[in-house]
């Protein structure tokens, strides 16, 4: 520790461009961590084998789907055009969510910290992410357009047309998200764009429901070349406009996206689906908070918990939009003959009813992530969890009743309310399941090692939904809910609430 601090002097001829700084960093890193040729070959081989396995798996999985779709082209079954449209629309909306939350232009957190404050041009630093995002958008659109057409048995020419349409739409979505990003209206700048794309995602099943009712046998379609070409040109123009304005990107915007990307990556690596949802659907800070009168009206610890959870739910646009989407999906699903009665109907009710309960479990999830919240009220773990099951049960009941109304099968509707209580309890059980117990030994099977801890973790919640709605399954199979079945379902509901309230251990 000696000497005077130097006064660095900059010279224009020494200044690096963004691209040069990025490449210099890569060279330094490559020098320190040289890649071994054998390792590269092994990595490439692993990717190739994995890709081949995925293709074969999808092909094998696609065969029965193709047969099912081919056999279900008449009656009140969903038309192939609707299936194609729904898949593409969902892919576009999901792509918009990912593009606006994680990019489309972005930098790693270290790049934000060390590159952005320098004098290097911003465009050169983020350029590779632009190429990646545009390629990913077009590629994902290609698959979302082409694969459903392939599955519904469309002719080769039609598949190509649909794939081209999907690619053009994908490029346009990425380009539009990029333009929003450089104008400072990205999802992380304020909550508006994030909320809009989340609502877009939720609107797809709702629109699908409308189409299913209006034109249920909509035939497979193919978009003409001129339309795809025009969309593709518009997408290319949007990407070009975006790329030309990369120096307008704000450091705060890139910092927020790097943070969201890191959160999403970590959640993906640990197979934490809730974490991925939070990273992608969190809509950022609201511009204002309207004080809810509900907490002020709450009396006692039970009232406080209910008021707090209601406020959280009411403020979560993603949860509310998701709830509407799930309800609409249930109404669409029961239009498919195989899902409109019997075991198929139970699958829809249990699955989407559980999804509705999970959408309503905003408060329980917050409490599951932060155990101190429950410690604030003098109720005990079991009491707090039992109270917190109310709103998930209500949202689940909303979904189940929507499905019941769509089928017109009121005969077994009596079992729906106690079943909703079961599903609400299941959502609470899932909310409190904690992190994945990776310390549980793997299970060796002929097909390879099974991560037991992960399986157990993912099954916590759905297990209760499955077992707790068995009386509902019987009601769906026999087509009516006798008083005895309703009573049994009510007993199951009490048992489910007790089970969900059981606090096993603290991890």
């Amino acid at each position: 520790m000696s000497g005077r601090l130097p006064r660095p002097v900059a010279a224009d001829e020494e200044l690096l461009t963004g691209a040069e700084l990025r490449r210099l960093t890569a060279r330094v890193r490559a020098h320190n961590v040289p890649s071994e040729p054998g390792r590269v070959v092994a990595d490439v081989g692993q990717v190739a084998v994995t890709a081949a396995l995925v293709v074969l798996y999808l092909w094998g999985f696609g065969a029965p789907v193709r047969e099912l779709l081919a056999s279900d082209a008449s009656g009140f079954g969903l038309g192939h055009g609707l299936i194609q449209g729904m898949v593409l629309a969902l892919a576009v909306a999901a792509g918009a969510v990912v593009a606006t939350r994680l990019g489309p232009a972005g930098l790693p957190a270290a790049g934000v910290r060390w590159w952005l404050p320098t004098s290097a041009d911003r465009a050169g630093l983020v350029a590779p992410s632009v190429v990646r995002a545009a390629s990913a958008g077009a590629g994902a659109g290609l698959l979302a357009g082409g694969v459903p057409a392939l599955l519904v048995g469309a002719a080769a020419g039609q598949v190509v047309l649909d794939a081209a349409f999907g690619a053009a739409v994908g490029l346009l979505v990425v380009g539009a998200a990029g333009l929003l990003q450089v104008t400072g209206a990205g999802a992380t700048a304020d909550g508006t764009t994030g909320r809009v794309v989340t609502l877009l995602l939720a609107a797809v099943p709702v629109v699908g429901l409308g189409v299913a009712l209006w034109a249920p046998t909509w035939a497979a379609w193919a978009v003409p070349w001129p339309v795809s070409t025009a969309l593709g040109l518009a997408g290319a123009a949007a990407v070009a406009g975006w790329a030309a304005r990369l120096d307008r990107l704000r450091a705060g915007e890139l910092r927020a996206r790097a943070s969201a990307a890191m959160q999403a990556s970590a959640a993906l690596l640990s197979l934490d689906s809730g974490g991925v949802s939070r990273a992608l659907l969190s809509t950022g800070p609201a511009t204002s908070r309207v004080l809810s009168p509900v907490p002020g009206l709450a009396r006692g610890p039970v009232g406080a918990l209910l008021a707090a959870d209601a406020t959280l739910l009411a403020r979560s646009s993603a949860a509310l939009a998701g709830l509407v989407a799930v309800a609409a999906s249930a109404a669409v699903a029961v239009q498919v003959p195989v899902l409109g009665g019997g075991i198929g109907l139970w699958v829809v009710l249990a699955g989407l009813g559980y999804a509705g309960a999970v959408a309503g479990a905003v408060g329980p999830r917050a409490a599951g992530e932060n155990p101190r919240l429950d410690a604030l009220v003098p109720l005990g773990a079991r009491g707090a969890r039992t109270v917190r099951a109310l709103w998930p049960a209500v949202t689940s009941a909303a979904v189940l009743l929507t499905a019941v109304m769509a089928t017109g099968g009121w005969a077994w509707a009596g079992a729906v309310v106690p079943a909703a209580v079961v599903l609400g309890a299941a959502a609470v059980r899932a909310a409190y399941r904690g992190p994945v117990p990776w310390d549980v030994p793997m299970l060796a099977t002929p097909a390879g090692a099974v991560p037991t801890g992960l399986v157990l973790h993912q099954a916590t919640g759905p297990d209760l939904a499955l077992l707790g709605t068995l009386p509902l399954a019987v009601a769906a199979v026999v087509g009516t809910a006798s008083p005895t079945l309703v009573a049994v379902q009510a007993v199951f509901a009490v048992g489910a609430v007790l089970w969900a309230g059981h606090a096993r251990r603290t991890r």
Partner: protein, 226 residues
């Protein structure tokens, strides 16, 4: 020439102000410490001065222009160290600093970096990966990133955090030397000795308003928080 001019500046998040309106001018060679209790908006104010966050109202002007960190001219003249650390994997401490210097077009970036590393007492760790440093060494490293590059305004958020007593003393001398060389220094701190060593006037963020405190009284005001 006024280097930094804050006029009725209100900062915060989601439309909610976290501190009172601030009016302040900083000339070359000035040292201004931002002081206040936890949660009074010191860091948010510094982030806004660095252009990382939009003001809720009021203006921030640096070098006669409204602050816009996207402008290369602004980034060339303003160095900031906040409490954020992220590092390139596989890149050493010294290499991070050389990259920073090269990114600003510094002549003899390697030589400058070695001298700064020596000055910050982490010359022996230049070849280490950042994640292997202790928290105090990492703080020295992050401070070094502001010193290997040219600067006319130095913005630091609680630079004394995690530093040992000797290094805090040295930090005070360094900031004083920066000011003597014509650099304006704006920093948030909770350390009254650092405040005294730099001879800084203080911008006190309190619930009832932002008050400028002369250098002679600033350490006493800060000590009064404890």
């Amino acid at each position: 020439m006024t280097l930094l001019d804050l006029s009725d500046l209100v900062v915060g998040y989601g439309g909610n102000a976290v501190c009172p309106a601030v009016t302040l001018t900083v000339e070359p060679g000035d040292v201004v410490a931002v002081i206040g209790s936890n949660g009074t908006g010191k860091s948010t104010l510094l982030r806004t001065v660095l252009g990382l966050q939009e003001p809720l109202s009021g203006t921030v002007r640096a070098f006669g222009r409204t602050v816009d960190e996207r402008e290369r001219g602004f980034r060339r003249r303003v160095a900031g160290v906040l409490d954020d650390d992220a590092f390139f994997p596989g890149v050493t401490v010294r290499e991070h600093l050389v990259l920073t210097a090269r990114g600003h077009g510094v002549r003899d970036a390697g030589v400058v970096t070695d001298r700064v590393l020596d000055h910050m007492g982490i010359a022996d760790h230049g070849g280490a990966m950042p994640h292997t440093l202790s928290s105090g060494q990492r703080r020295r490293f992050l401070l070094a990133s502001a010193l290997v590059r040219p600067r006319e305004l130095l913005v630091l958020d609680e630079p004394e955090q995690r530093l040992d007593t000797a290094m805090r003393t040295r930090l005070g001398e360094m900031l004083r030397a920066e000011a003597d060389a014509g650099t304006a220094v704006l920093f948030a701190t909770h350390d009254d000795r650092l405040l005294a060593a730099t001879g800084a006037r203080a911008l006190h963020l309190a619930d009832d308003g932002a008050v400028l405190v002369p250098p002679a009284q600033a350490p006493d005001v800060l000590a009064g928080f404890r």
